[in-house]
């Protein structure tokens, strides 16, 4: 217990040292203050952003697009993945294809989405779905593979109905892997949406970041980077905590 706590303190110390260095280095002139504004200035900028009414439409646009793409990509990817994995011929045909498509970089197709859909909401969401759906399919393959054959056989030999097999065998076995799909999908999806906004857009967090970088408003830029990192880490850790609880519950 003590060792666990000391590890935890050491980790906290590393994070604090990073932030302290960020504050001190520009203050004492180790870093150019224009290129790296001290942490306190960046936090002041962040508070300023969160207090200004004009910031929220941008944040809202990004979050809405991310959520919409997520709500399309995760169910669609999960269903497609499960359908493919459950059929032997389909898995032999499509699994290598999905693995291949997963391995090629998706970001370079972004200009094609602009040529096809312009630079509005449709293009952002379509690109978000495209960046996300393959990782969800791959995780769904793993989810189906994690269902143990013996469990299925026992359930069937005791006369479980299809509904019971799905609810009592498939779902409990697959939940941790599907949570992993949700976690990875959000990382890919959020990155896709932000990239699309940075590349070509009229509003959104990505748009703001791109503009601030070009106009050297680095305190605002860093404030937005902190905000985005914070949001991503909190989401990620929440899902991971859920995964751990489920693992524990499964024994």
């Amino acid at each position: 217990m003590l060792r666990f706590r000391s590890i935890w303190f050491a980790r906290l110390a590393i994070i604090l040292a990073f932030f302290a260095l960020w504050e001190i280095a520009p203050r004492v002139g180790l870093m150019n203050e224009r290129l790296l504004p001290p942490l306190s200035d960046v936090i002041a900028a962040l508070i300023g952003l969160l207090g200004s009414a004009s910031f929220y439409p941008h944040l809202g646009t990004t979050l809405f697009q991310t959520l919409l793409a997520f709500l399309i990509a995760v169910p669609a990817g999960a269903i497609l993945g499960i359908l493919i994995a459950e059929n032997r011929f389909a898995s032999e045909v499509f699994k290598p294809l999905v693995f291949f498509i997963f391995s090629i970089p998706k970001s370079i197709f972004l200009p094609m989405f602009i040529l096809a859909f312009g630079i509005g909401l449709t293009q952002k969401v379509a690109f978000g779905v495209f960046s996300t759906i393959f990782i969800v399919m791959m995780t769904a393959f793993a989810a189906i593979a994690s269902v143990k054959e013996e469990h299925l056989r026992v359930a069937r030999s005791y006369g479980a109905s299809t509904m019971q097999v799905v609810l009592r065998v498939y779902l409990p076995s697959m939940t941790p892997v599907l949570l992993e799909a949700v976690r990875l999908a959000m990382i890919f999806n959020f990155t896709g949406i932000l990239l699309a906004e940075m590349y070509a857009s009229r509003r959104g967090l990505g748009n703001l970041i791109g503009t601030w970088g070009m106009s050297f408003q680095l305190d605002q830029l860093l404030a937005a980077i902190i905000l985005i990192s914070g949001l991503s880490i909190v989401f990620n850790e929440t899902i991971r905590a859920l995964e751990l609880r489920l693992e524990h519950w499964r024994g």
Binding site: R11, L115, G210
Partner: protein, 259 residues
């Protein structure tokens, strides 16, 4: 004759290529949206000098970033993965960082390093570093701890343990990490070039997009795809070559433990 899955895959690819040529030609899809396959390949051929010059810029950035990303990632991964304390201390931090969409750092790097090659190299290095680090650290954990114990009992010091036991035993993991890291470095460089730059394949993609020259946009995308697939094939080839060597190494290892 029954169709094997591989036949179906090739057939799908063929259908896709035929559709790519036929649909725009027949006017079903506007050519701005999807130019014909032959048109895109022709564009690639006609402007080959320009593509070649920009490909060199991109390749140069990719190569330098690969050294930083994979060298740094493998080294840090080995150091962290080999020690239990470091693993419990650093790995949760590293996997939390993994959730951060790193692309938001790129405007910062252009502000710091300008819009030349430096910002691309830094961005791609950072982009490829974490997955390489996590992959290597995970691989170090999978190695047989008897090997380390044996080496230690024979008086190998920490440096020897790392060089003679950990490094050879982690070659497969390192190659796997290189595959992931390398793919990310290529994407990182091209995406950075697409966002703000004055040279490179990514720059060509963005320039032709603003000119609405779809044929050249597709031509440049095909070129990047080719680059990514070729890199993957090369690492896979090396993986296969060293896999045989690994097995023979394990064979003597078994003999030693038997004796």
């Amino acid at each position: 004759m029954r169709m094997t899955p591989a036949h179906v895959r090739w057939l799908l690819l063929l259908v896709l290529l035929v559709l790519w040529e036929a649909l725009p030609r027949a006017g079903v899809v506007p050519t701005l949206f999807l130019p014909t396959l032959s048109g895109s390949l022709l564009a690639l051929w006609q402007d080959k000098a320009e593509y070649f010059a920009n490909l060199l810029v991109t390749l140069n950035e990719v190569l330098i970033a690969l050294i930083f990303a994979c060298g740094g990632g493998v080294l840090l991964g080995l150091v962290i993965g080999a020690s239990g304390v470091m693993r419990r201390l650093m790995l949760p931090l590293a996997s939390s960082l993994f959730a951060v969409p790193l692309v938001v750092l790129y405007p910062l790097f252009t502000a710091w390093f300008g819009i030349g090659s430096e910002s691309k190299i830094v961005f791609a290095s950072v982009y490829g570093l974490l997955p390489t680090l996590l992959g290597t650290a995970a691989g170090v954990q999978t190695i047989d701890h008897h090997l380390v114990t044996v080496a230690a009992s024979m008086g190998a010091n920490r440096r020897q343990q790392i060089l003679r036991v950990y490094v050879p035993a982690t070659i497969p993991t390192v190659l796997a990490a290189l595959r992931i890291g390398g793919a990310l470095v290529i994407v990182g460089v091209v995406v950075a070039e697409m966002l703000t730059s004055s040279a490179g394949i990514g720059f060509l993609i963005s320039r032709y997009r603003t000119l609405l020259d779809s044929e050249n946009v597709f031509a440049a995308i095909l070129l990047v795809l080719f680059l990514a697939i070729a890199f993957d094939a090369i690492v896979q080839f090396v993986e296969r070559r060293t896999a045989g060597w690994q097995r023979s190494g394990q064979g003597t290892g078994d003999g030693a433990s038997f004796a």
